[in-house]
């Protein structure tokens, strides 16, 4: 018996050593595999693509199912293989776009993103996996593309596109795809494409909708012809605030791949003066005939005033990221920290905790004892919500001694909407509801999760 145990233990040790060796070997291999993918943090010159005179036997086999399309053929495939494409943004649009361009045998694929992979990206940014969390998106995407087609030359750029580097970068590519997530970058990419004469295949997606157009193509309009003035920043919604179903940018990114491949192969895009609108709820595409190139356009018109790239963040009044802005609408004495609120909670001091997020977000997570009245209902002064508020204020008042004002603490996800709600409530106080003392909980539930309760979900 004892002998058998000994022998089994020895065997196990042997196997464990074997496994460790294999793991080592694998790690070495993977390291050497990714090390040939050099992540660039600045713009450097590309080695020019050598035009292939003919397809190899391997090419013929790999691309056979598209080669036999009369719309493509051998010449189309050769054209694709000598085209370089820059993808600005390796997110929900950029991932499927990069995937299909690589699969189809594009020559050079520039992959640009300043960001790193986060868990909340994975539902739509389908080239990245759990193993890539924290890694540069550009590198993660390039590795995935490399696995798919090692003959495609991938150039990952881990940098923010800016007025300083955009022209130098875009000049090196034949076609540019805008897969970015913010307004300043969209104007920047447009202007750089106009100034360097490159077609721009542009798409965007939010919630259950997508839009696509090809700008600066065959004499058609540019992005500025259509949108000469940027939208007011407060009207712009990003994916982390508005939400997005992953497959919607997936569909739009695939649509971008289609138009890029049509341009690259020589068939040409039919979206040069056309906007494609996708409504995922109704499962409907709609094609809109757009205005022609505008003679008065400041960048592509007859007398352009934009001849070099300027400051796009100040032009648009917003930052070139889709990260949430932190509003500062209130004075310091109108706000408390999450630590302060924790003390209030622990002291069992009578108060009202008002959660002003939309019900769909309250369903995800909320603090116990909070009352949900969405900011929009407060702004619209919805009668049933004002009645609920009044009733809860009265309950707090009954628990209180003396004639202090009943305290109302307002919370939301990040601490922006709650500040707006405090302003609305201060107007209601003493008129439409009883007088209250109202304060914002700074940083909202995400600050609560970070500093008070690590078990509280973050989204």
């Amino acid at each position: 018996m004892a002998q058998e145990v000994c022998s089994l233990k020895a065997q196990l040790r042997e196997k464990e050593k074997e496994i460790a060796d294999l793991k080592n070997k694998l790690a070495q291999l993977e390291k050497s595999h990714t090390s040939t993918l050099e992540l660039r943090d600045r713009v450097t010159p590309l080695t020019p693509l050598k035009a292939k005179a003919s397809l190899s036997n391997e090419d013929i086999m790999r691309y056979s199912r598209q080669l036999i399309l009369p719309e493509l053929g051998v010449q189309g495939q050769l054209n694709i293989s000598k085209t370089s494409v820059l993808i600005v943004g390796c997110g929900g649009l950029g991932c499927p776009l990069a995937q299909y361009l690589a699969a189809a045998g594009i020559g050079h694929l520039g992959l640009l993103d300043y960001d790193e992979v986060e868990l909340s990206n994975l539902h739509r940014q389908v080239l990245h996996g759990e193993d890539n969390l924290g890694q540069a998106k550009a590198l993660s995407a390039a590795c995935a593309v490399r696995r798919l087609n090692s003959t495609v030359e991938c150039i990952p750029y881990h940098l923010q596109l800016s007025s300083e580097n955009a022209l130098q970068l875009i000049q090196q590519y034949d076609i540019v795809a805008d897969c970015s997530d913010n307004v300043p970058t969209r104007y920047l990419v447009n202007d750089a494409c106009v100034l360097s004469g490159k077609p721009l295949v542009s798409a965007s997606a939010l919630r259950m909708e997508g839009q696509l157009a090809v700008y600066n193509y065959h004499g058609g309009p540019c992005y500025r012809c259509l949108y000469p003035v940027p939208p007011p920043p407060e009207t712009v919604t990003n994916c982390s605030d508005g939400g997005v179903l992953g497959v919607v940018p997936g569909i739009m990114g695939c649509f971008q791949a289609l138009e890029v491949l049509k341009i690259a192969s020589g068939q040409g895009s039919s979206c040069g003066q056309q906007l494609v609108i996708f409504d995922a709820q109704d499962a409907r595409f709609r094609c809109i005939k757009l205005r022609p190139r505008q003679a008065g356009c400041v960048v592509c018109g007859e007398n352009p005033s934009i001849t070099h790239l300027a400051d796009y963040e100040s032009f648009c009044g917003s930052a070139a990221t889709d990260k949430c802005r932190k509003l500062n609408l209130l004075s310091r004495d109108q706000r408390i920290t999450v630590q302060d609120y924790k003390s209030v909670m622990d002291s069992t001091e009578p108060h009202l905790l008002l959660d002003v997020r939309p019900p769909v977000e309250v369903d995800i997570c909320h603090l116990p004892c909070s009352v949900n009245i969405p900011l929009s209902s407060l702004e619209e002064r919805k009668i049933e919500h004002l009645q609920l508020l009044q009733e809860r204020i009265r309950q707090v008042k009954q628990q209180m001694a003396g004639d202090c004002l009943p305290p109302v603490y307002v919370i939301c996800k990040m601490g922006n909407d709650s500040q707006k709600a405090v302003q609305v409530l201060e107007n209601l106080s003493g008129s439409e509801v009883d007088s209250i003392m109202v304060k914002d909980i700074s940083g909202g539930l995400m600050a609560w999760a970070k500093t008070i309760d690590p078990t509280f979900p973050q989204y």
């Binding site: 969209r186 909708e209 009207t235």
Partner: protein, 101 residues
């Protein structure tokens, strides 16, 4: 007198959130001495459909930057923008530009 006309209004790209989340509206514009044009339609929408925060929809006498107007599936720039005279059964779409990716 111009007879009343019915039009099909649609909001998209998030612009519908200013209209209680309702995307499609079937509307009858009352008869008036002059034919309806887009400029008057914008005023009418403001007075009859848009209850809150008009600055998120209009600016001056036109739509705010970032909203594209489509008349019968064409950019309104091709049809005279604010001066376009509405026809019975016209389909007018107000679409907010998306920026997410």
């Amino acid at each position: 007198m111009a007879a009343p006309i019915t039009i099909h209004l649609e909001f998209g790209g998030g612009a519908e959130l200013l209209f209680s989340g309702v995307k499609k509206h079937h509307m009858t514009l009352p008869s008036q001495s002059q034919p309806w044009d887009m400029k008057q339609l914008l005023v009418w929408i403001q007075q009859n459909l848009l209850k809150e925060r008009p600055e998120l929809f209009v600016q001056g006498d036109s739509v705010r930057p970032g909203i594209l107007v489509l008349i019968n599936d064409a950019d309104w720039e091709l049809l005279g923008e604010l001066d376009y005279q509405l026809q019975d059964k016209d389909n007018i779409v107000f679409i907010s530009t998306l920026h997410g990716g």
